[in-house]
């Protein structure tokens, strides 16, 4: 709660000091000064900073994020609409990440030093190094322009779930690739760490095979750093997809913030950033719960 209050203050202060006036942006270079003044009045920009901060915060408490300066519709509605894209996109990308990273991470750890391990390490290094927007453009070139299997971008909405999923396929692959590479490496090194612990040696001494020791004991213990990374990755995917959203012209949260900043739709920027802070706090909480689930020792402390 306290972190939310601090966050709201910091966000508001940082964003309100950006130079540029939303009213003159909207009216362009032929507008007369009295028109700009009239619009500022209409938008409520003439009120003092503290009044505006209080009305923003109290509004949010009742679920009212205010009205966008540019779109002139409630901020909450716009954000909700964008979340319908960003949240599924982040979830699919995260699912793909886990789906790719777990098997290859485990594989690399069990066959440490083998050529499998080497090629996994090489491939993930490449996956981290390749910029995801470039990879996205290559996919567009191949699958949209040459093969015509997918559209080059855009999002048709969830009225037709199949078309919507299809539209999210390429973007989620592009987002998942570097994340999966990171996660696979984390998985591998976490597993290697636990595999060298004393209790694993004890397990082996009791007669478990290396494989049994890994699946029954090491994996669960290696999950703590992996979960931490997954939590961070989810927060990143929710807000950090701006470039991928631009490549595939998807109406997501990232592009909303980007547009809102250039249009000086301050209330929109503030609300989205605040929402993201909120999301990060929730995700961290969920990760804490997951720690407790994998590690009974932490359960006592929660």
């Amino acid at each position: 709660m306290i972190s939310l209050i601090v966050a709201s203050l910091v966000i508001f202060a940082c964003i309100e000091v950006i130079p540029g006036d939303p009213a003159s942006f909207m009216l362009g270079i032929n507008a007369q000064p009295d028109t700009v003044a009239a619009l500022r009045e209409e938008l409520g920009l003439n009120a003092s900073l503290s009044v505006r901060y209080l009305s923003w915060v109290t509004g949010m408490l009742s679920g009212d994020f205010g009205t966008s300066y540019t779109y002139r519709t409630p901020v909450a509605e716009i954000i909700a609409e964008r979340l319908w894209l960003s949240l599924p996109l982040a979830l699919i990308a995260l699912g793909l990440t886990v789906f790719i990273a777990f098997p290859i991470g485990i594989l690399a750890a069990t066959k440490r030093g083998s050529w499998t391990d080497m090629s996994v390490m090489g491939a993930t290094q490449l996956g981290i190094a390749v910029p995801n927007f470039w990879f996205a453009m290559l996919m567009v070139l191949l699958f949209a322009i040459n093969l015509r299997w997918f559209s080059a971008g855009g999002f048709p909405g969830w009225d037709n779930p199949f078309a919507a999923l299809k539209a999210l396929t390429l973007p989620s692959i592009a987002l998942a690739l570097p994340q999966a590479s990171i996660l696979a490496r984390v998985m591998r090194s976490a597993l290697l760490d636990t595999l060298s612990e004393d209790y694993i040696r004890t397990c082996r001494a009791k007669g478990l095979t290396r494989r049994q020791a890994l699946w029954r004991h090491a994996l669960r213990n290696a999950m703590i750093p992996v979960l931490t990374i997954i939590g961070l990755q989810f927060s990143f995917l929710l807000a950090g997809a701006i470039i991928i959203e631009n490549v595939f012209y998807l109406p997501g949260l990232g592009r909303l913030v980007f547009q809102a900043i250039s249009q000086r739709d301050l209330i929109m920027v503030e609300s989205v950033v605040f929402l993201l802070v909120f999301a990060v706090i929730i995700v961290n909480f969920a990760v804490d719960l997951a720690y407790a689930w994998v590690d009974p020792r932490l359960r006592a402390r929660v």
Binding site: S24, L27, A38, E42, Y71, S151, L256, S262
Partner: protein, 490 residues
């Protein structure tokens, strides 16, 4: 797209033998409208989607830029040039089913010129004294003084007719009288219009039109190549145009806009308060290499603040021909033989960013060092436009017939010449066409001779269009994508 494919497949499968005529179109646009009220924002994207399609004014622009009757069936001007009487078409209905009446016109014009109006072009309505409904279909507009441009002004997107019944929701649910009705807006993605079955004029051929918003040039390229969009209006990456021209699936439309692209100089800031320095800057610029380098050859050189396709245009590029030696001599004459340092503030469009680099190099060649700063629009408006804190800046003035800005001494480039101010004031009240042409020409000559700004080029409009799509306007006499005449061949 999917539906179209399915439709094609179905049509082929049925072997009906008749050609399948496509009746919907998807047009790519770089910028999304912030909201859908053309009468309360400057954003060109609003007019691009709605002008002439959803909203109509008393007058309208035709494809060649001429002003023709819109909702007004007829009009007459009184002897003293101060009273305009408009007769409206009788069978016009708004999309919500209500009739267009004279009272709607009174409402629209009064709203635009009201004290608390937020119309971005409020100056268009400055001269109006009263607007009255004579009867249900007749509107009388009385001006404070005769105004030569009045009918032209009434054709602007900012002067479209709206209805009091639907005004509260206009920003999200626009209700006009046009050939297309607003259907759906997926914010951040697309806007869909559908044919207005009860349209009073000629029915359009298209049944549905979708505007898709794609801001990234690379994404625009992909969308066009994958044929996700049928046309990309004002295609943002001129470097790809040659490739589209070579591809038989597409045609490239190259037309004119009303955008005079200028290297604006701060006329009140030293050393630009000295005409010799401004003249030197003008001679230091090689327009053609700016056009070739920044715009890949698309653009027409200009020598004054006036569109070359306008009948009243005078070619004054000779006043400021590229001549670096002369520029150096002029600088020496102004006491700046060793050159000087100034700022060059560039807004985001590529004409400014790319053109700025080239111009900076050309100015350096005559001894003028520029410190380039790239600004976002909001910053540019704050610093350069409102704060007048700049030496040089590059911007394209896209409003049609906007030479009147030179009569505003507080305008950002701060040109203050009583002679021109008088001329523009006289021009406002002059109704005789020949005299107006003369006056417009003198105005061009005055600002050219005063070297107010560096005049670069008329911004070209380059759109990439599916080769089978016809009827799109090649030029942009106003920011409009008029779909009423668009259709598919075969």
């Amino acid at each position: 797209m999917t539906r179209w494919i399915l439709g094609t497949v179905a049509a082929t499968a049925l072997l009906t033998g008749t050609a399948f005529a496509k009746t919907d179109v998807t047009i790519g646009l770089q910028l999304e409208p912030p909201h859908l009220d053309p009468t309360s924002a400057a954003a060109g994207a609003i007019d691009q989607v709605l002008y002439s399609n959803v909203f109509e004014g008393l007058m309208r622009f035709a494809a060649d830029g001429s002003v023709v009757n819109g909702l007004a069936k007829d009009w007459s001007i009184s002897e003293d040039g101060k009273t305009y009487t408009f007769t409206l078409h009788s069978d016009v209905k708004f999309h919500d089913g209500t009739d267009l009446e004279a009272s709607d016109v009174v409402f629209s014009l009064d709203r635009a010129r009201a004290e608390d109006s937020v119309n971005a072009q409020k100056a268009l309505f400055d001269n109006i004294e009263t607007v009255e409904a004579e009867d249900n279909l007749t509107v009388k507009v009385t001006l404070t003084a005769p105004q030569g441009n009045f009918l032209f002004n009434m054709a602007w997107g900012d002067a479209v007719i709206v209805a009091p019944e639907s005004i509260d929701d206009i920003k999200v649910k626009p209700v006009g009288t046009g050939a297309f009705m607003f259907n759906d807006w997926k914010q951040g993605d697309s806007i869909t219009l559908v044919r207005n079955q009860g349209y009073w004029g000629d029915a359009p051929k298209l049944e549905e039109a979708t505007f898709k918003f794609i801001s990234e040039p690379t994404a625009a390229f992909a969308a066009m190549m994958a044929e996700d969009v049928d046309a990309f209006y004002s295609y943002p990456a001129p470097e790809n145009l040659a490739q589209f021209e070579a591809d038989p699936r597409f045609t490239v439309l190259a037309g004119n806009t009303e955008g005079e692209t200028i290297l604006a100089m701060n006329n009140k800031q030293a050393p630009f308060d000295n005409i010799l320095v401004r003249q030197a800057v003008s001679h230091a610029i090689d327009r053609q290499s700016v056009i070739d380098g920044a715009m890949f050859g698309y653009g027409t050189p200009i020598g004054s603040h006036f569109a070359p396709h306008n009948p009243a245009y005078v070619d004054l590029t000779g006043n400021s021909e590229f001549n670096p030696e002369k520029a150096k001599a002029l600088l020496a004459e102004a006491g700046l033989a060793n050159g000087f340092k100034t700022t060059l503030k560039l807004p985001p469009p590529s004409y400014a960013r790319r053109g700025g680099e080239i111009i900076a190099a050309q100015l350096r060649a005559v001894g003028i060092e520029t410190e380039i700063s790239n600004l976002e629009w909001a910053q540019w408006l704050e610093q350069a436009f409102r704060g007048k804190d700049f030496g040089l800046t590059i911007v394209s003035h896209t409003e049609p017939m906007d030479i009147g800005i030179y009569a505003r001494p507080d305008y950002y480039f701060q040109y203050d010449n009583p002679k021109l101010q008088k001329l523009v004031a006289d021009l406002d009240v002059e109704v005789d066409a020949t005299k107006r042409t003369d006056m417009l020409q003198s105005a061009q000559m005055i600002i050219s001779a005063d070297y107010v700004n560096g005049y670069l080029f008329q911004l070209a409009l380059t759109s990439v269009v599916n080769a089978k799509l016809q009827g799109l306007w090649p030029d942009a006499p106003t920011q409009a994508i008029d779909l009423t005449g668009v259709s598919w061949s075969e």
